[in-house]
Amino acid sequence: MLGLVNKAIENFTIDSYGDQLWQDVVQQNTEFEPCFELMLKYPDRLTFDLCAALAAALKRPQVDVLEDLGTYLVSHKNGQTLRRLLRFGGQSYEEFLISLDELNERSEIALSGLALPALRIERHSGALYHLVLAQGWPGFEAVMIGILRALADDYGAQVWIEPIDPLRGMCRIEIKMLDASFSAGLQFTLAAAGAAGGDDVGL
């Protein structure tokens, strides 16, 4: 697993719950690093253990914590890079959903070695989509639900998003479009002021 993922968990914990809680989580396992390196590779198991340790420290179900992580990744001020990269997917939320079909290629081109679990979008009607995910990273679907919900707010779309029972070894997330232009959403320009860098990598 690329250190970026562990770093995201680290940043999420510190920004949401403070430095002390992060110290408590790190204490639980000698393999946990107080400061993960974005570009180094760590064993996958370490990341899954880290999520479990965080949920235990917060005394909350892991899926809830991971969904909050997904929300944090696109809506926190430190996560602007990921939010922007995802919004390049389309001008509307539906365009964005369809662009998720390219997410594996897009993430690989942005950061080779990230190796997201395979995912694809199924369009069942103009208002009903399924995001289908391979089960490579346990809990990844919860993170994606957080991301999808936060981006719906970002686009100003009103949606209903729930996980549905896994089928043939694939996780499924159901997305129902209720109102594509429910609110104004947040502004997105193709070339942000200062787009030439400077943002933290908030992935």
Binding site: M39, F88, I109, A110, L111, L190, A191, A192, A195, G198
Partner: protein, 320 residues
């Protein structure tokens, strides 16, 4: 919406006389205040590559080639273009794009997804640029951190931990650098006299304290561009950059020895030491290696000790 507006929204349709008959929506956005049509293309855009053209005849002759235009009005955006002639003298179509400066153009003209054709790779290009910048930023901060750690490790490797002075490794580097640079300089070797007695009588803590006091004196008596080294034990070396005047060096040596001889109180005891110094001067013509330089200063130091300590001697060829 015309076929062209969908396929290439940044185009202009031209009459046979070079007047713009129709502007694609993105090109119209680029021009800001949409000009009253028809207007001559070359009135709005200056052709820069492959060569300037004042007449449409010249421009039409460049059909099919890679062109570069510049907006005549501010912000004078550069645009890539290609011109295609329509059949049987019905004029031409020019299609524009933004090339490598796309991020600036998009920002300057507030372009959005819908300003690009569905097949245009511009959005992917912008996505890539941002992804690249984010990755570069991450690797830059990592490099900075590594650089900081490397500097700290090097500093440690070149520093004597007790006194904070440089160590023998640094001395070799400094001597090699100075002799290569052909700068005149002086090497002084200094041994503390009676140090062993302090150590034996009052203990190692007292000895360490005396070494630290001596180190501070040496630093105070030298300039920032000079190098002060603890070679080990009670042996020190000083390198004076661009100083070879014998009188000045003699006075400096006397002052160092006088200061070293001032009693150093430690706990309930008074420690007394002195110093012997050997000096060797290297002018621009010297071609001695660092090893030879140290050997020569060592010979001069030996002469000082032999003559009764607490004094300095200069190295002279054939003197020892």
């Amino acid at each position: 919406m015309s076929v062209f507006d969908i396929l290439c929204p940044c185009h202009a349709q031209l009459s046979q006389t070079g007047h713009i008959l129709h502007l694609g929506p993105t090109l119209a956005k680029l021009l800001g205040d949409t000009p009253a049509l028809p207007v001559r293309l070359l009135e709005l855009f200056e052709l820069r590559r492959p060569h300037p053209a004042a007449s449409m005849k010249v421009l039409f002759a460049l059909a099919g080639q890679k062109l570069t235009f510049r907006l005549r009005a501010a912000p004078h955006t550069d645009l890539k273009a290609v011109l295609a002639l329509l059949p049987s003298g019905q004029g031409a179509v020019v299609n524009f794009s933004f090339g490598i400066a796309i991020q600036n153009v998009v920002q300057r003209h507030s372009l959005t997804h819908s300003d690009f054709a569905g097949t245009d790779l511009a959005i992917e290009m912008l996505y890539l640029l941002e992804a690249k910048n984010a990755a570069m930023e991450a690797s830059r901060t990592l490099n900075q951190r590594l650089q900081g750690a490397k500097n700290a490790a090097e500093e440690q490797a070149f520093t004597d931990t007790l006194t904070g002075l440089k160590n023998r490794r640094t001395l070799n580097l400094v001597l090699a650098r100075l002799s290569e640079a052909k700068v005149p300089f002086t090497v002084m070797q200094l041994d503390l006299d009676y140090f062993k007695a302090v150590n034996d009588t009052y203990g190692h803590a007292a000895g360490d304290h005396v070494l630290q006091v001596a180190a501070r004196i040496l630093v105070e008596e030298t300039r920032a561009e000079d190098t002060v080294v603890r070679l080990g034990g009670d042996e020190f070396a000083l390198v004076f950059y661009n100083v070879i005047n014998a009188t000045r060096l003699a006075k400096l040596s006397q002052r160092i020895i006088e200061r070293l001889e001032q009693p150093v109180p430690f706990q309930n005891n008074i420690c007394r030491i002195s110093g012997s110094i050997g000096i060797v001067v290297f002018d621009r013509r010297s071609e001695a290696s660092p090893e030879v330089m140290l050997e020569q200063s060592d010979q001069a130091l030996y002469a000082s000790k032999k003559a009764g300590r607490a004094q300095h001697s200069f190295f002279h060829c054939g003197a020892a």
